[in-house]
Symmetry: C2
Subunit: 208 residues, 2 copies
């Protein structure tokens, strides 16, 4: 197992995927588990993820992503979709799930549910969507690190038309909107960008 630093050095935004090699079911399952374990505010995980491998859907998504080849060449496309709202019902369900998973009576943590409601339900929709998206980006960071450790390649992408993605994937009806995607697969030998030096601000500039 590489160290996290080695994993992060291995990863890069893969521009050209090997269209003939997809991650295995076991690998995708491990990546899903990593995303599931990602941290989020209050633990609400206010996003859902679609993993698209169907070639016809990938073709449609590629057309809605400025024809970038990663979206059809990679075996799997992880689409992070933020919830477009936050409701008392969602928080109540979350509290019930917490009680179940911790095997405690729900009334022990009802106060926590009320605390969450007090913190977030007064916020306007724009704030909530932005907040939900930020939580999804933590999950994206978790996916990229996990994939790097497994030597699976990814390409985090914001260059797509969210409204079109939402339509193709039926996200709007589900109260979701696509906010960031990551094709997942393996780098093509032809992808020259794998040989480029990683560009990063020096520690002394990035850390004040």
């Amino acid at each position: 197992m590489p160290t996290i630093i080695e994993a992060l050095q291995y990863r890069y935004a893969t521009k050209k995927f090997d269209a003939n090699r997809a991650a295995t079911d076991a690998q995708i399952s491990e990546l899903k588990q990593a995303v599931q374990l990602s941290a989020s505010s209050f633990g609400l995980q206010p996003y859902r993820i679609l993993v698209v491998s169907n070639p016809a859907i990938k073709k449609d998504l590629r057309a809605a992503a400025y024809d970038q080849s990663q979206v059809s060449d990679a075996g799997h496309i992880f689409i992070f979709a933020a919830k477009t709202s936050m409701s008392a019902e969602y928080i109540d369900d979350f509290i019930k799930m917490t009680a179940t998973q911790r095997d405690i009576p729900v009334d022990v943590i009802e106060g926590y549910g009320e605390y969450i409601k007090g913190s977030v339900l007064s916020k306007d929709e724009e704030f909530i969507v932005a907040w939900n998206k930020r939580q999804a980006y933590i999950a994206l960071g978790t996916l990229l690190a996990a994939a790097g450790e497994l030597k699976i390649d990814t390409c985090p992408m914001e260059g797509f038309e969210p409204a079109k993605f939402d339509e193709i994937l039926g996200l709007k009806e589900k109260g979701l909107t696509a906010c960031v995607i990551a094709p997942v697969g393996f780098r093509s030998e032809e992808d020259n960008s794998q040989h480029y030096a990683k560009v990063r601000y020096p520690l002394g500039e990035l850390f004040l």
Copy 2:
């Protein structure tokens, strides 16, 4: 070295840190490197990070974080501060840095700089700040995963007053605003929450 899944299972939002045990300089240096290697849109890293270990400053920060003990008990506080703007100058400097780090003439990638400018400079300030914050959240996800792998504890927190943090740390003058923080150190034996089962949506619900 634990696997990434083991690392993510080990980590939890630490409520009570051991105030007598801080991460070593070598550990903090490794965490900084992980954050430095985190992905960001176009590679712009539109955020900066402060690592505060000074007890007096931690005390002030704690007061601006609803008196949560993590902010003074943890040895180090990572403060992610998003840039409050994006400018042609920043992008030009980024392109120059890219050319230097890749050892190529700057004119080879000037077109890429113009492309980035075309994508982002037309956006309004609100969009840019939200976008910059999202990039910082990828870095937060990277930090949490890296710390978990190193068996260092963290507590991602949004529960603080950004305006007060900005003032205490002089961030506004630097064109930055605190968006999320993570105390870094080691869990106290007394922290009961380390024994709670991790609560997560089942894979079948989280993944559509």
